[in-house]
Amino acid sequence: MNIHAFVSVMLFASLLFSTVVAFPVHAQPTTQPWLEVVPSTITETAPESFDVGVYIRGLDAEWELIGVQFLLTYDPTFIEVTNVTIGTFMGNTSWAIHGTFSVWRIEEGQVVYGELILPDATSGEWNLPEFPSGEGLIAAVTFKPISYESGASFDISAEALLGQYFLDANTDYIPFADPQNTTVTYGLLDFTYQPPTPFAGEIVAFEATEPIALIGNETLSFNTVYMWNFGDGAQENTTDPTVSHIYSKVGTHDVTLTYYFPDMSLTITTTDTITIGIDMQIALGVTVDVGSIYFRGEVAEFNVLTTHIGKAVNATQINAVLYYNGTELSDLSISVQLVGTGLYRIPYSIPAGAQAGTYTLLVEANYYGIAGTTLKTFLVSPTLTTTVAKILTIENGVATISTDIQVMKANITAINARLATINGDIATINSTLGTMTTSLSNLNATITSINGNTATINTTLGNVQTKLSDTQTTATQTLYVASILSAIAVILAVIILLILRKK
């Protein structure tokens, strides 16, 4: 026996058991009752469930209704029933003086429901003070969302059970009007962005459509996490449907929005493309740092930063040319090295024979058709005569020199560095830049020979002889004196021994 027959049999078994006398024939009212499926008002922002009420409408007491049955159908792909509650209409004490009998059964995709007003237990007759009339709630069914599909819809319908809805006190079926069902429609999952043709460096505002389910006139919202992938390597997760992003790269990017519904452990992804253009009205910013002063043989480093709308961008082309005295000295374009986004370095070794004076570095950059140009000047000084120069380290032939102006690097061969003197562990070095000092440890100093109070020291910058100390001078002199005294003493001793031997 299927469920439909089960409920009908239950209702009619109850009916036949209690009915012994047929109700008198009566005139039929002009209006026919019907069932209406109505969602309850959803007040919570993100409810875990929602209710649907099945109401009876347009019932005339003349119908002498004593039983209601229906089949509530829905799409089990999207929702599931968690509870069924008996309504207040059939149990109204104005007519259900002997109580009611209700039965329901939940199956996948449908709820079978039946309810009967009980007759007098002794006579088995529905000698009720009045029969049901008007409208009211037959039953409430609680649903829980289990899935979401963009743009999908389905009906929650109150269908007739074995072709009938209502039963009167004569065990006849009551004619009915068509039920009024409700439709569940899921909102489209998509997103938009503004402006429609954004530029690199411009703020792009993305807005996702919020996932909702329209149940009749009621709106059901969902707990949602919006997981954005902007297509340029950047990602962001939010619970707010709006988010902004700035693209630095020109071109087309695939933007992916993944809706994550934590209550349903469900993800839905939607993708769109965005084309990032460039604002030709705003010039490319080119900032150059060349330092202030360099010396012959020094390894200079120039830095260039390219920006567009305040954001560092990699130039599509960059040229750097060094000028001196109104003429082009060297094209440094080939030496330009990218350090970070929009940041470049240009190493340049000042020639040992470079002319002293003011040099100009001109940098031209291009960014997708937008040009930017700037120039900076620096000074090449012949010597360090006005500075206190100290070599901090020497690595691979390049000395790092600290002066009272700056820290710089210079090739020791280019500046013709040579060891002048050593005092203690401090070496003095002469070069084309001037005189500098450094620790002997920087020169790999080794003592090759010692002659009295003078030591010969070998370094990476050559050999030098140095006087050790005053104490050493005294020790050397003492050594000479002792040698002479010893020689005299030995001679005297030999003479005395010879004299003693003759005696």
């Binding site: 050593i422 203690g424 562990d425 002997l440 100093a445 080794t446 003592i447 090759t448 020979s449 010692i450 002659n451 009295g452 030591a455 020291i457 050790l468 100390s469 104490t471 050493q472 005294t474 020790a475 050397t476 003492t478 050594l479 000479y480 002792a482 040698s483 002479i484 005294l485 010893s486 020689a487 003493a489 030995v490 001793a493 030999v494 005395i496 021994l497 003693l500 005696k503």
Partner: protein, 130 residues
């Protein structure tokens, strides 16, 4: 004053002179090591020099006192051994150490080595004759 006593005095004086010479060389070695230690590490050389000079000075001084006290044979042997050790020290710091500390003193520096050797020789010859 007997001939024997005179020889003992000469031997002892030469022994003391050898001890003094070891001090002079020690002074030079240590001052040199101290001066160049800022340029390159000389910890090992410093330790070797201190110990060697200390041994040479002590042995020559002790041997010379023994000769003065009349223990000529014992004193002469100690001075001979001290003198030979002193020569080894000189040869090491003259020819083998890096850098060479005493190479520049040759050949005059050899005169510093003769007194202790002569002291031991005189004492040993005296014992043989007696």
């Amino acid at each position: 004053m007997s001939k024997s006593i005179n020889k003992n005095i000469i031997s002892a004086i030469l022994g003391f002179l050898g001890a003094a010479n070891s001090l002079v060389i020690g002074f030079y070695l240590l001052s040199t090591i101290l001066s160049i230690s800022q340029i390159q590490s000389m910890t090992f050389q410093s330790a070797i020099a201190s110990i060697a000079i200390g041994v040479a000075f002590t042995s020559l001084t002790y041997g010379s006192f023994e000769i003065l006290k009349g223990n000529t044979k014992k004193g002469a042997r100690i001075n001979m051994a001290g003198g030979i050790f002193f020569i080894l020290i000189y040869i090491y710091y003259s020819e083998f150490s890096q850098p060479s500390f005493l190479g520049w003193l040759n050949p005059i520096g050899i005169t510093l080595l003769i007194p202790p050797l002569l002291s031991g020789t005189i004492g040993l010859l005296k014992e043989t004759q007696s």
